[in-house]
Symmetry: C2
Subunit: 286 residues, 2 copies
């Protein structure tokens, strides 16, 4: 055991061979798991999707904080060395509280994407697509301006993307999702953006559709930032810095836990994961 920390009365021990906890309000975090498996193939992951209480994006801040606390306590029931919040809403609303309360390293879904966007923009005009709760909390804009106060940030709440993606309207040619994407992009018509952050873990599923609609509307390519991919890269960097990367090869695995029926989860999970989800267990939360 490498670390032993006591904070807010919570004991926490871990070593290189401990797992990495990942949680999301539901299924979206699986896009992060897909990236994590690629970037950290030898690590063990414990995924918790709060499918019984999804979506968080339309809940009050108070409720999101309570749910995030429940979710983190669930993950801490396992031997984990770090946690990744694969949920834009929780990262926006509850990350500070979680980092104060729990002793382990926690990577959110916002800062890594903001750092990438600030590095890649050429004209300094960045847009953020996220759920209403994430946009309401203004976290992407605040984080981007903290990185570079000269950046100009346009935020657009996209309440229809999650239901569209979960209902399978994800083909690049889907007329319904293109209409909605164009509606959101039209709000950026005068912002002269060159970089767009997809600030919800669901949205990478329709990354190509958004890119195609943006090109159609703006007549040029827009750099699209996938917050799940950037979080996975940031998690690897952080584990490397803390000397917490596993030194065992070929031991990589994912265990999935959900708070509603596992059949529903398994059926939709393949959209997000790009493969079937094995080892799915239903648990009671909160």
């Amino acid at each position: 055991m490498k670390d032993f920390v006591r904070k807010s009365g919570i004991r926490y021990m871990s070593d290189k061979q401990s797992a990495i906890g990942v949680f999301d309000s539901g299924l979206g975090g699986l896009t992060a798991v897909k990236q994590l498996k690629k970037i950290l193939p030898d690590e063990k992951f414990i995924y918790f999707g709060d499918t019984g209480r999804v979506p968080y994006g339309t809940r009050s801040f108070e409720t999101v904080n309570q749910y995030a606390d429940d979710d983190m306590r669930f993950l801490l029931g396992f031997d984990i060395k770090a946690a990744i919040i694969a949920c834009g809403t929780v990262s926006a609303v509850a990350l500070d509280n979680l980092q104060k309360k729990f002793p382990l390293p926690i990577v959110g879904a916002i800062e890594p994407a903001c750092i990438a966007a600030a590095q890649r923009t050429k004209n300094g005009n960045i847009a953020v697509f996220a759920t209403p709760a994430t946009i309401g909390k203004n976290s992407f804009a605040t984080t981007l301006c903290g990185i570079n106060p000269d950046l100009s940030v346009s935020s657009v709440a996209c309440p229809m993307f999650v239901p569209l993606i979960e209902a399978g309207y994800i083909d690049v040619d889907c007329p319904v999702t293109r209409l909605i994407a164009r509606e959101y992009l039209e709000k950026l018509q005068n912002a002269d953006i060159d970089t767009l952050i997809l600030g919800c873990t669901h949205y990478p599923i329709i990354k190509d559709l958004v890119a195609s609609c943006a090109k159609e509307l703006f007549g040029r390519d827009i750099e699209i930032i996938d917050s799940g991919y950037e979080s996975a890269l940031a998690a690897k960097k952080m584990l490397l810095q803390k000397d917490l990367l596993t030194d065992l090869d070929g031991q990589g695995s994912v265990q999935y836990f959900v708070s509603d029926e596992t059949q529903n989860f398994s059926a939709v999970a393949s959209i997000f994961l790009g493969e079937a989800a094995q080892n799915v267990t239903k648990v009671t939360i909160g």
Copy 2:
């Protein structure tokens, strides 16, 4: 006090002046409240919207049963003489259990709509639009065939209607909602229907849009059944039969309780209610 019943250990007392409890997974039930206020203007209503745990339509049957039980116990904390389940999903999944467990008269959202549809169809071909959970439970089809085994019933799960309505895509000309409605209606192309039940309390909000798309597609008018309106009529009939209608004039009122922030509720409630919701209180449930 007129009634005193003990069933499953639950005490229950009420008289004509008691209130009527109404619950829904969230906001949709407000379309039923709107009809109830018209049809029973002198009654007192206690409305509970489980906005902290909405939507129920994508949950497992087990979870819906648990939530419905919580909701009914909350309403029974008030002096109520009857309960109306203004939620297609709960009516489909949990009504039988609730009627077995709780001693008061309970009106669901399915049987009244089915009786109305069976009376109004001329060619016996009826369609049902509802959430995936309601369709999965097959309750409308079972109920319709129980009323008249010669009816032919086509069921279509409509997962996109609730998010579209809650995001305000409700204008009769809205291109996105028309595309989705046409997609659902096209599944009925060979069914020769003359009657369509809107089996979710959200759907009456887009009744005119659905009617217009149906006429466009089928080239004729379709009889559209609003399950909230039919439930309100059925509730009045049942209270009359049991001599439980209030005999006081001008005492009508509605008290609203929700399980998430009241601001969100008040903002969207006017879409459903056709007026602002007064007397909204947040409560903890479950």
